[in-house]
């Protein structure tokens, strides 16, 4: 992946991420999150991980975010009141963030796997969707089939818990 594209999408993703937090309108926040997910998908494409990129768009940008939007619209949330910044809270939050970063840095530094560069990936770069399908239906068939039962149970649950009163 060309460094230019990486920096472009990475910065765009971070920008949209910040806008999720800053925006006072929940719908705008949710849409920024969608945009951030799309940029992340572009990064995956750049790494030749097409399957993960597609799943990222379908599952996160598609299903999960549509659900978010539905809920926001159902709850009829208005734009939040603009609050004045509380200096103590702001300072405390910054301190906690800095502490967490320092802690993570010290842990990662002490942990050799985190210091050494990861070896380049090998194996099938071609057609990873096919690989995933083959794995699901051959070696990993048992967990896959149980997932089917799991989804059946979840469907029953939705019907049981949400059906209207019958009177």
């Amino acid at each position: 992946m060309s460094p230019f594209l990486f920096w472009f999408f990475a910065l765009l993703m971070l920008g949209f991420g910040v806008s999720v937090v800053i925006n006072r309108n929940p719908v705008a926040s949710a849409l920024s999150l969608v945009a951030s997910f799309l940029c992340l998908a572009a990064l995956f494409v750049g790494l030749n991980a097409f399957f993960i990129a597609v799943i990222q768009v379908l599952v996160y940008a598609g299903a999960v975010m549509v659900l978010f939007l539905f809920i926001i619209m159902l709850l009829d949330l208005r734009a939040e009141q603009r609050r004045r910044f509380n200096l103590v809270a702001l300072g405390g939050g910054t301190l906690v963030t800095l502490g967490l970063v320092a802690e993570l840095a010290s842990v990662l530094n002490r942990f050799p796997l985190g210091r050494n560069p990861f070896p380049p990936l090998q194996g099938s770069a071609v057609d990873d969707v096919r690989e995933v399908g083959m794995t699901l239906f051959s070696t990993h068939n048992l967990p896959f089939q149980i997932t089917g039962v799991l989804i059946l149970v979840a469907t029953i649950g939705v019907v049981v818990l949400s059906k209207r009163e019958l009177n």
């Binding site: 942990f111 796997l113 070696t139 967990p143 149980i146 149970v153 049981v160 818990l161």
Partner: protein, 501 residues
């Protein structure tokens, strides 16, 4: 070769039963749904019998059919049978709190869902790969979410459902995160291959040498998730409210089935990690802390409770503590997982019998007295001497009186702790046993020395009478002759056929 006594047959029959019940329910005329419960009890009893003839291996890397797995599958089957019997008694209460027009309307899924939960618990008993562990655990947990919130006209049940859903989802998050860490570090999801790979990778020059912290972090995440599942402190915050709000049969299922399956997964997951000399002492230390917290919290917080379901919820935390004592008594230099499995397996059988009995009596009494406080048991000895006697046996066994199965289970746990010279654990254990005597005997005192609020005798159906009598007999028999159950869990990681001969 697949044949009718292959190990997976058990789960397949249970799943077919679940789908059959759902389909039959939708095709049947509206009306009473008790037949679903009776069908479930009958087929699960057949599967229970079938499990004694299971032979061979599954040939799958995800699924183990060793005797331990079969043993814990039988616990899952027995608890589901007990829960279905309880659900039959519970119908009148259930009907009041669900929307529906007429008798039996809307109760069908209450009999079908436990069957799916049972399949999930059975898969958990056999899971030896993190993928199957995750899928099986989710199958049982998701059906529990639905069952807990089933009485959706009652606020307590809905509140319990929401609490369980949110904290359960958080627990699942910890589990998945832990699994990804383990996979990222070792490159494996199969427990057997992790056990092979870890010593090499941890040795000087191996790729994980010096990264013990990362592995401890991963196992810590897994312990949080499984601690949630078995209701161990400090992951117990959900327990009292969920146990009290859920429909009583579901509470019993949560406390028996969920705990048993959680412990077999905990045993299997911990084994490769505790066996490593650099990790073992630290992990055993963590287990020590969990055991002490669960024992102390479970027994001390149970003292002031007036609601019997809430009392049993705290008692469930306390029993998770006793079970953890046997894990905390493992010697990290040479961990005896076979011995710990045996102790935990036996304790769980006892716990199954006494908890099911207590909840069965509670279901019968509360559906006829309209409440599940200890006060509703006042004078039960006059209203139904049979139930009062059964409850005395259940409470005595939960407290750990000699000649009951509860005593023998606690005895095994404490003798393991004494052998490991964990005297702090033993001391706290004895304090919590003493506290247990107080709060379990309050129930007995209410039944015999208080005047009944209502005079009407408590009616018990034939099936429930049979179930109560069986459970009482089981508690007393296993308290005197624990041998048969103990011998059936002697062998570990051997094909099931070995234990049959």
């Amino acid at each position: 070769m697949p044949h009718i006594f292959a190990p997976l047959t058990l789960e397949i029959i249970v799943l077919i039963l679940g789908v059959f019940l759902l389909l039959a329910e939708s095709l049947a005329k509206s009306g009473d749904r008790s037949w679903m419960g009776r069908w479930g009890v009958a087929v699960l009893a057949i599967v229970f019998g079938w499990s004694f003839f299971t032979t061979g291996d599954s040939g799958s890397v995800f699924y183990s059919a060793d005797s331990t797995a079969l043993f814990f599958k039988r616990i899952a089957l027995l608890s589901t049978i007990g829960i279905l019997v309880m659900a039959l008694e519970f119908q009148t209460v259930l009907q009041r709190f669900i929307p529906g027009d007429g008798k039996g309307s809307g109760t069908g899924e209450f009999f079908a869902l436990p069957v799916f939960t049972c399949a999930g618990l059975m898969f958990m008993a056999s899971a030896i790969d993190f993928l199957l562990i995750f899928v099986a655990l989710e199958l049982s947990t998701i059906s529990f979410y639905i069952l807990v919130a089933y009485m959706r006209r009652q606020n307590a049940s809905l509140e319990a459902g929401v609490k369980y859903l949110i904290l359960g989802a958080l627990g699942t998050g910890f589990l998945v995160y832990g699994i990804t860490w383990v996979f990222g570090l070792t490159g494996e999801t199969q427990l057997a291959r992790i056990a092979q790979a870890l010593p090499l990778q941890l040795a000087p020059g191996g790729r994980l040498h010096g990264s013990e912290t990362a592995i401890l972090f991963a196992v810590g995440l897994l312990l949080v998730a499984l601690g949630f599942k078995v209701a161990a402190a400090p992951f117990q915050l959900w327990v009292p409210d969920v146990y009290q709000g859920a429909p009583t049969p579901v509470t019993a299922f949560l406390s028996v089935g969920s705990k048993a399956a959680g412990f077999i997964v905990l045993l299997r997951v911990l084994e490769p990690f505790v066996s490593q000399p650099v990790l073992g002492p630290k992990l055993v230390g963590i287990l020590n802390v969990l055991a002490i917290l669960s024992l102390a919290y479970g027994s001390l917080a149970a003292l002031p409770q007036d609601n019997l379901k809430r009392l049993l919820a705290y008692s469930s935390i306390g029993h998770a503590g006793y079970l953890l004592v046997s894990l905390a008594s493992l010697n990290p230099a040479a961990p005896d997982f076979a011995g710990a499995t045996r102790t935990i397996g036996f304790y769980l059988v006892g716990y199954l019998l006494m908890t099911l009995l207590a909840f069965l009596v509670l279901t019968i009494v509360s559906s006829q007295s309209r409440g599940d406080d200890i006060a509703h048991f006042n004078g039960l000895s006059k209203r139904s001497p049979f139930l009062a006697f059964a409850m005395v046996v259940a409470m005595a066994s939960l407290a750990g009186i000699p000649l009951t199965v509860g005593f023998y289970g606690k005895f095994m746990v404490f003798s393991a702790a004494v052998a490991a010279q964990k005297f702090l654990l033993v001391g706290i254990g004895i304090v919590s046993v003493a506290a247990g005597f107080y709060f379990y005997f309050r129930v007995i005192a209410a039944m015999f020395w208080r005047e009944p609020g209502e005079q009407s005798p408590v009616v018990v159906s034939g099936l429930s009478k049979l179930a109560v009598a069986t459970l009482v007999a089981g508690i007393l028999l296993l308290g005197i002759f624990p041998g048969p159950v103990l011998n059936s869990i002697k062998v570990r990681n051997e094909p099931a056929t070995a234990s049959l001969r």
